[in-house]
Amino acid sequence: MMRTAFLLAGLSAIAFAMPAAAQSGHAGHGETPPAPVAVPEEPAPASPACSPEHAAMGHCRPADEAPATDAGMVGTDLPAGDAPAPPPPDDWYADRIFPKGEMEHARHAMMVENGAQRVGFVSLNLAEYQAREGRDGFRWEGEAWYGGDINRLTLKSEGETAFGEGIESGEAQALYSRAIGPYFNAQAGVRQDFGHGPDRTYATVGFEGLAPYWFEVEGALFLSNKGDLLARLEGSYDQRITQRLILQPMAEVNFSGRDVPESGIGSGLSDVELGLRLRYEIVREFAPYVGVEWTRKFGDTARFARAAGEDRSGASFVMGVKAWF
């Protein structure tokens, strides 16, 4: 009974292999394959059909080889053998029935459809009004990316304006981003500064990702066209108070390899920024927030600030929206 089933299966394989060119691609297809007219030269030797002498030569494994010694064990209770896995085939069976070109096209589409999609993302992490002593301003920090799971083109921008004075400081980065682990991306590219300071251009390498305990972290090194080396580390944490109300502490520290007086940056630790923002996710994609931010400049950076008539530290009250699309 089983033997017959396997033989039939073997025969049907031959049937599929018979000229299928006459069959149309996708219209009106679906006739059962033509009945086999000849006995196949090499019937597929399914294991039930394994003859003892053949088995002795190691050509196949007889079906009834299952050890009858396992008292009472039958079917799925029996242990599995250790036969080697067959090599993967180098053909596609559907190509025997449908035009190869059409199948190639469909295969490609199927592959792309199951894991190779490209996705785009635009986010405004910060877009806020900053109320502070002296002059109020606006600050933004955003990111956009496009690509697959591993390779992406990432754009970043951040900066500040003081009302009535235009863009105080701003930067834009264009990065190649690559997933280097389950949680982290490595990034490399260029950064362009704009605003009141010198419009430097930097080569940059960095990383971003999710650290243990759910900390979002980001770091980068920037080498300017004047040879200045800067570094930046950022981290933040989302403390979910309710499903929609989230308190986000964040910190950013900046370092410099040497004094860059034109930019007002001193060597070593140049400044620290701490923020605490409370946002409400009306929807996941749109969350207004209020918060406070405190910044402090250190070392020569503080000295440069004082020389320019600025404070070495300051606090702001902020309100804005976090949004993404």
Binding site: A9, G10, A66, P86, A94, R107, M111, W214, I241
Partner: protein, 594 residues
């Protein structure tokens, strides 16, 4: 004889010509919440035409875009008879390629309906004729295998009546197609999952929960945080965007199935969801499971069962009282439910139970199954084969050696030496350090619900398995994923990364161990074959086409590669497959392989 009974049922169920007529109206066009008793439109016979087209659907009064078949969602019930030839003309009226896969049907590979694997797909405004002999009976279903069309409503039920007498005696039957529906476009759902991990989860642990003493205590939250694992991540897409449907109707539409007290009512339950694993119960009624994935099982009485995406279960209930019962299909993260009513007359309702508290993932869900000190459901014969560890035989020395005594958290969650075949890839967030066979467990959140819940161990095939040989070899397949990037793969390899099929020789019998390295359940479906679950049932192993592999656990099946050709093999969570959790399986005659 059987036909006579069906005639009788038709008359009884319809309760008159008016009700029968309403079947030919789109059921969702009927007034909201009045209670519906519409039967699904049915097509049958040798020649069946199915037309795939865009349309709208109305769920709980709200209209949304959809794809239907012959104008309805779900598509018409296809009723076939074992032994007949099915000829199904499928007309694609969409502006994009489409397809229909006949889920669970044994047929020639080129009729299986997977574009790029079994055939080229059905081009826009064209027709494909599927034709195959119907060699089985039972409850099955069909759906698109193109893109994300299934989420939009491109699915429907199949019932195949047996050639001989049906061993399941029943007086009346109802088909219950469970599904999920969102106002969001499926492409948008997928994008949100990709760009914002946990986007749809509105049941996370919060500070206010901690202060209220809910969920994990602080030390556990810190431990889980260290591993970057969220115990509330049970369902990727859930009730925050989904409505859960019964035969296309929302909970407020209250689709109603009629019965007469004392009748044996057979419910053919199909999970046609894109992403939703349901826990099904009917408060007040015991459920007798008589069929799983279309094949008969020894009747077993339970109170609730989990149904993975693409699984089917037939249950018989015998309500004796003249009252209504609520059919509850609660989604596994308890963020919503599909609801219908079983009643003697239309318009009756029964109390709808509140959603139960959502479950939290445990250490076992992270693949640290052995840590509890063994598996209470481990049968001795199974243990002897090394499949599991009985509770009282947990090797204490091993535990000590592996450094998880009191702390219990010393495991590397990404130790590739545990699974050498898994590719070191960003798609692999974790590797289960000590996964155990979880087929004897009822599913997340069902361990302690106060009544009897089905497990795979309760299933025993009614008929002896057709092939009772020992497997010639075994094969491990790791189910891998990264919930932070929404990447899903087998062995760390996405479908899009690797086109080489998983090879099998025709007629060979292979034991497949599905090892879940993720913290989510995956209903895994092998096309073109039934497989026997290795649950200690010998030659009466339950035969299935889809099996849930529980988080951090193992599910094992034996199968005979008896269907020549190339077949799809994938996680049936639509967006997991779409993210790459799929592979092609090839079955070749011996000597044919390269």
């Amino acid at each position: 004889m059987r036909i006579d009974r069906r005639h009788f049922i038709g008359a009884a169920a319809g309760g008159g010509a008016a009700a029968a007529l309403s079947a030919w109206f789109p059921a969702w066009a009927q007034p909201v919440s009045a209670g519906l008793k519409a039967q699904l439109p049915t097509v049958s016979g040798e020649d069946i035409t199915l037309r795939i087209a865009r349309q709208t659907m109305r769920v709980d009064g709200k209209i949304s875009r959809a794809i239907g078949i012959n104008g309805t969602i779900p598509g018409p019930l296809i009723r076939l008879k074992e032994g007949q030839t099915a000829r199904l003309r499928v007309v694609n009226d969409l502006d994009e390629d489409s397809s229909i896969h006949w889920h669970g049907l044994i047929l020639p590979f080129h009729m299986d309906g997977v574009p790029g694997v079994s055939f080229p797909g059905i081009k826009p405004r064209s027709t494909f004729v599927y034709e195959f002999p119907v060699v089985q009976s039972g409850t099955y279903w069909y759906h698109s295998h193109s893109g994300l069309q299934e989420q939009l409503g491109h699915y429907g039920p199949i019932v195949i009546d047996p050639a001989g007498a049906d061993p399941i005696g029943h007086d009346r039957e109802h088909v219950i197609v469970l599904s999920d529906h969102s106002q969001l476009a499926p492409e948008e759902i997928f994008r949100k999952l990709k760009v914002n991990p946990g986007h749809f989860n509105m049941q996370r642990q919060t500070l206010s929960g901690l202060l209220a003493g809910e969920d994990q205590p602080l030390n556990e939250r810190i431990e889980w945080g260290a591993m970057r694992m969220d115990p509330t991540d049970i369902a990727d897409v859930n009730g925050s965007t989904y409505q859960f449907l019964v035969n296309g109707h929302g909970p407020r539409d209250n689709w109603t199935a009629l019965f007469a007290p004392g009748e044996r009512v057979r419910l053919r339950i199909i999970n046609a969801s894109a992403m939703s694993i349901f826990n099904v119960r009917i408060p007040g009624l015991r459920l007798t499971v008589v069929q799983a994935d279309g094949l008969n099982v020894v009747p077993t009485e339970i109170d609730e069962f989990q149904i993975g995406v693409a699984e089917t279960y037939d249950v018989v209930v015998t309500p004796t009282e003249d009252r209504a019962y609520t059919i509850v299909a609660e989604v596994n993260d308890r963020s919503g439910m599909a609801r219908a009513t079983l009643a003697p007359r239309a318009g009756m309702v029964a109390p709808v139970p509140a959603l139960r508290a959502r479950p939290l993932a445990t250490m076992k869900d992270m693949g640290m199954g052995d840590m509890s000190g063994g598996d209470a459901t481990c049968a001795p014969e199974h243990a002897a084969m090394g499949h599991c560890t009985p509770a009282d035989a947990a090797p204490a020395t091993d535990h000590a050696a592996m450094g998880h005594g009191a702390g219990g958290m010393r495991h590397s969650m990404r130790d590739f030496s545990v699974a050498p075949q898994v590719k070191r890839d960003p798609s692999v967030q974790t590797i289960s350090p000590m996964p155990v066979d979880r087929m004897g467990e009822p599913g997340q959140g069902l361990e302690d619900v106060g009544h009897q819940v089905l497990t795979y161990h309760d299933l025993v095939a009614l008929d002896r398995n057709p092939d009772v040989r020992a497997p010639g070899r075994s094969l491990d397949i790791h189910l891998t994923g990264n919930m932070e990037r929404f990447m899903w793969s087998f062995d760390g390899v996405k479908m899009s990364d690797h086109h080489e099929p998983i090879p099998f020789i025709e007629g060979e019998r292979v034991r497949v161990n599905l090892i879940n390295d993720s913290m989510m359940s995956h209903p895994i479906h092998l096309h073109g074959h039934f497989f026997e679950l290795v649950t200690g049932k010998g030659d009466r192993a339950p035969r299935k086409h889809t099996v849930i592999v529980q988080p951090g656990g193992i599910a094992t099946f034996d199968f005979t590669a008896d269907a020549l050709g190339d077949w799809a093999f994938h996680c049936h969570l639509l967006y997991h497959m779409h993210a790459g959790m799929m592979r092609v399986v090839s079955v070749r005659p011996r000597g044919d392989a390269a």
